[in-house]
């Protein structure tokens, strides 16, 4: 088993469990058949949650993996959305063209703003990204020819292929958004599990060590920031696909804050958790909130309080707790036991099993 990098071993053993893959498969299938299970409005909400979840994935990459907490991912999201709106109004309505364009626009925007942002850390980074987000929203108010100003911009429906049918039906839109979100999230997860994830972990946890070992930390961070910008740009393009409308107020600081909190609720380093957190927020605000119109913020607040006290490691941590509970009760089915490196034939058997807590001292000052 010495053929693979220890990082890959560790990761595949920790995350690539049979149980996990099975659960993931169930969720994907469930998502695919969702249109048959729920009413139209819920489906629209699910679409919204997917788009918002993809925005949160970008936030999570920066916050959880690169160690840059961000309140500004709405900026590349806005750039992606407005770029898509501009394309649609110029008769480039094919999603397969809009997505790369929006990704590129988001990435370019992030590459330029990133030069400044990646130098900062902690609260300063948070406030700098906030500034980037707010300045972008302000620019969207001012630059009317491109953005429609504060009243926003509406677009006709998109298509998947050039010359294809218009994406009009809620089910079609949902499935399109779902596939794009899954693909983008899948690629993101793969990249984070590749050696690139190890490099980012090094930067996040010990920047000076990485620099002293010859790693161009700034370049890594800028690249990550740019990649996150591309993800958010795609998310913005999908926003235009389902809402067909964007205004500066829809890319404001509250959306950024919610995206960050979605990531915290879901578990900062979990791609699936980002979607779970985003889904919980959308469901709470737009579904529960409708039970008592005008009090959606109250429901959101209660959600956050519950999340803080009951999900100490985020939604992703709940699964860990369930698993360790199952361990203690001896409920673990042999086939579902995650491969430890020892079981995989590597190491000295001292490697803790899946779900071993990473010590809190990683909380570097």
């Amino acid at each position: 088993m010495n053929t693979r990098l220890s990082a890959v071993i560790a990761m595949s053993s920790r995350y690539g469990t049979v149980a996990r893959r099975a659960a993931l498969a169930v969720v994907v299938v469930w998502l695919l058949v969702l249109p048959q299970l729920v009413d139209t409005y819920t489906l629209v909400l699910a679409t919204q949650a997917l788009v918002f979840g993809l925005l949160a994935v970008g936030v999570g990459v920066l916050t959880g993996h690169a160690g840059l907490a961000t309140m500004g991912q709405v900026a590349p999201y806005a750039v992606g959305a407005y770029t898509t709106a501009w394309l649609t109004r110029h008769d480039i309505t094919a999603g397969l063209l809009q997505l790369p364009a929006a990704a590129l626009a988001g990435a370019l925007f992030a590459a330029v703003t990133g030069i400044v942002v990646i130098r900062a850390r902690g609260v300063v980074a948070l406030m700098l990204t906030l500034a980037v987000g707010e300045l972008t929203a302000t620019a969207a108010v001012q630059w009317k020819e491109f953005t429609g100003g504060s009243d926003g911009v509406s677009t006709p429906p998109a298509r998947i292929f050039p010359g294809g049918a218009e994406l009009f039906d809620d089910q079609d839109i949902y499935l399109y958004v779902l596939v794009v979100a899954l693909v983008v999230a899948g690629i993101t997860a793969l990249v984070l599990r590749s050696p690139a994830g190890l490099l980012l972990a090094g930067v996040r946890d010990n920047e000076d060590r990485m620099r002293a070992a010859g790693h161009p930390v700034d370049r890594y961070l800028l690249l990550t920031y740019t990649g996150a910008g591309a993800i958010s740009g795609i998310s913005g393009a999908l926003l235009m696909t389902y809402a067909r409308y964007v205004s500066p107020q829809d890319v404001g600081f509250d959306i950024s804050a919610l995206a960050l909190l979605a990531v915290v609720i879901g578990g900062v380093r979990s791609t699936a958790g980002a979607f779970a957190g985003a889904g919980l927020i959308v469901f709470t605000r737009d579904k529960l909130g409708n039970w008592w119109p005008g009090h959606a913020p109250l429901f959101l607040g209660i959600l956050f309080l519950i999340a803080v006290y009951l999900l100490p490691n985020g939604a992703a941590g709940v699964a860990q707790q369930l698993r360790s509970l199952a361990d203690r009760m001896g409920l673990r089915v042999p086939g579902l036991v995650p491969r430890t490196p020892a079981a995989a034939g590597a190491g000295d058997g001292t490697v803790p099993a899946s779900g071993a807590p990473v010590p809190e001292e990683a909380d570097a000052r």
Binding site: A23, T40, D151, G273, F283, N290, H295, A316, A319
Partner: protein
Amino acid sequence: MSLIRRTRRRAAASIVLAAALVATAACSKDSGSNNDTVKLGLLVPLSGVYKSIGEDMKRGFELYVEQHNNKFGGHKIEVVVADEGEAPGVSLSAATKLVKQDKVAAVVGVSSGAAVAAITPMLADNRVPLIGSGGRPNLQNIDRVWNTSWMSDETGAAIAKYVKDTVNGPVGIIGPDYQGGQDQIRGFTDTFVKAGGQVANSGGKPTFTPWPGTTNFLPYLSQIAQSGAKAVYTFYAGSAAVDFVKQYKQSDAKDIPLYAAGFLTEGATLAAEGDAARDIYSVLNYAPGLDNPANRNFVSAYNAKHKTQPNLYAMCSFDAGSVLDRAITAIDGKVTSEAINNAIRGLGQIDSPRGAWQFGANHSPVQKWYLRQVRPDGQVLSNVVVQELATLGS
């Protein structure tokens, strides 16, 4: 200081699964609505910055429905309330819920112009008419959009000539820097300049204050006072209006006559401004003191229920009820969204607390505008009608 360097274990999808299953259970396919009942969606801001206005709108519409025993033209009316929120995206989500989950026949309300812009394409797709009683942006397709309120540029246009004739000298113009505010200010400026009026602001262009976020108007007011303006025209609404009016009376501009779009001193803002609002002239299509039977009925009913005078926002939503009532009554057969929309098209004059009006070609009222002044009316300050200004609309 570390914000983020916390360790978190990665996902297992089972939590997503659990949440998803709960969601599925909670959102299973809904049933259709009863045929005898007509569902109407009331979309007004019930949270956030515009909650106060949203409550006025809700009260106005519900008052009309109650006065007619929940029946329009023999059909039972069910009002589904949804929160417009602050961001247009939230409004769109709420409107989608009204249309797709509650299957309402028409949507009523919507205070923000941006929210109207956000929801009208979705409403058009689903062929649901909007009877708007708030802001109205420029729209490409108004087939199913009807407003009982106003066009943003009409307010200023209605008073511009009066200001030109009354004020002997240049006028300073200031407003908030968003589309609705720009339309309001443009309506005044264009008509005012065309009538030969002179803009006092440096560069001859109105001053726009950053929005949202401006709470301090003193530097702007100081500049306007420097410009030698003989009067000031402005448009602000909500908290900004309160801050503006209070600061105006403490600034260098305090002795310069203030003219405004009526929103500056409408509803809760007037109460919050208190004495600082005294004597302000404003233009609006309504004042609670208007002397006509419809208004006397409206004001007394409203006052009896809410212990306060109605305002513009309540009145326009009240009229939205009136429009729907007339339209549904006129329908011969099944009450559908399409039928309601067609029936509205055929409505003639509508008797209203503001005086009779009718829809113009742009689906907004052809109506009278009034000059009002803030004066004591009994114990409280009120917008008292001084004179009629103009009838606008097309």
